[in-house]
Assembly symmetry: C2
Homo-oligomer: 333 residues x 2
Amino acid sequence: MKEISVAHGAGGEQSRHLINNLILKYFGNPILNELEDAAVLNTLGKIAFTTDSFVVDPIFFPGGNIGDLAICGTVNDLAVKGAEPKYISVSFIIEEGFAIKDFKAILSSMRQRASEAGVIIATGDTKVTPRGKTDKIFINTAGIGFLPKNANVAAKNIKNGDVLIVSGNLGDHSIAIMNARHNLGIKSNIKTDSAPLNKITQELIKTLGKDIKAMRDITRGGLASVLNEMTSPQIGFVVEEAKIPSSKSAAAAARLLGLDLLEMANEGKFLCVVSAAKAKQALQIIKKNKYGKNAEIIGLASKEVRGKVRLKTRLGPLRSLNAPLGELLPRIC
Amino acid sequence: MKEISVAHGAGGEQSRHLINNLILKYFGNPILNELEDAAVLNTLGKIAFTTDSFVVDPIFFPGGNIGDLAICGTVNDLAVKGAEPKYISVSFIIEEGFAIKDFKAILSSMRQRASEAGVIIATGDTKVTPRGKTDKIFINTAGIGFLPKNANVAAKNIKNGDVLIVSGNLGDHSIAIMNARHNLGIKSNIKTDSAPLNKITQELIKTLGKDIKAMRDITRGGLASVLNEMTSPQIGFVVEEAKIPSSKSAAAAARLLGLDLLEMANEGKFLCVVSAAKAKQALQIIKKNKYGKNAEIIGLASKEVRGKVRLKTRLGPLRSLNAPLGELLPRIC
């Protein structure tokens, strides 16, 4: 078996072969091994439920691959709701002729990330399309997380004076993808920042409870989108450009490409809005995790600028930070 | 807005426009309208969790479309586990240039089917790829269902003498798709059988409890696959060919195409395995629902033929009914 064939997605013997001899070898666990049409799970109280499809191009890039993103992306969507990610579904749409070697590399990354995040791959599906109908492989993941009783994380909780923390350097994922896709030849060690953030978010919730007002993973549309989405007729944000963390190499690459780090998708960064009283403690919790070591306080929620995001630029003047209008980097995740 | 553009999937203003002015107009409900990264849901006890990606070609066909299948398919995967489908996620992968008119038709069918099945569209995602990278539109749905306390539906419960019921005519969906895809010009009124089966399955569980041993929706690989998957070293099945329901026109079309109705995917049929004592009652429950009116008892579970499926042909002799080996009808769902 060297390539995916259409028969691998047909529901017959060859489908079973692919599932038993490949997918279950990587993902097998007592729940998934049942191979029933749906997985049976125990839950208690409130759950969080999310889904994401991944169509990133290229599918392999410095520091990760599409499978890695598919696990981390869904884990992080649950994490920023304050949930403990528990179960994940994995659905593949694969182009006929896709190399089994590459599929194994993807499965292996997914298993590793699921294990790191502590999520169980509970159910799945595989479809195969003829050549030219799918660009190599697309992956959908849906996830279920348990919500602790004291979690109540939503943009509507944000009050005047709450503090904004970004969990680390922005831009790495987008620049790594751009460089790999277009062979830009930017000589750098910039890698995707793809990472599961649930260990950090769970400690924030456990330690600081309702003082954690809202969290968002900083994906498509970047920090500019996330901040604008969280504004309301009652509240806005003031952000200091100089405080927003980024590596020198990412900042240089962004300048070279004429792109704005604040509009770029990340796959392992989140924005945390916390009460002023607990901001320092939240920053400490984030910084002591390896995925949060470059975290910084970047600004404040303010009723003065309600409905808007205002950026204090490095040169001094305030300007509006708007959500990006159109497509910046297609197929970034 | 006449066409999907790459910017519709970029996470910026245009994405928000697509979501607010189109998707939420069709799917809006208090949970989805929150537009948080994950939906918050109340659950109690055990849940069922499933996922499926839909890549059917063509996306519109007699009696349905890809969106219709995406709701019914996931609803039915939950239903045959004995669960009450409750929440569904919807994730679109759309090719740039896809007509908004067609997207609206798909959204509309999905809303209607979700409403009929009683499921809430709780969370979603939209990605757009450049032209030529996706074949029009692919849809992933994941679903969560509540499991009643008395539900314990799994192939391992099947005992010698249990009765097999097929819920209606086989083959219609596959023939409708083939005819639409290849312009076969088969003059018939054959339409997809796509339908939500949860009202039937829930009444079976509620009325007959543990006497409902196992259920499977008869999708990819057809009845032949489903029966073979449910065999074990302890149990097999004997099926009477003459009892398997199909319409005259579907049977004629299958003969014409040289295809076997027993290997064809259906989107609104299931196999129910029930204790002999309650078989008649189960058949009555199925037949009184509009999606089960052609249901028939087709055979028995038997330890005599353990590990195998044996077919009593119309002409008399018994033959093995094996799972189809390769691809029968690619992109049937």
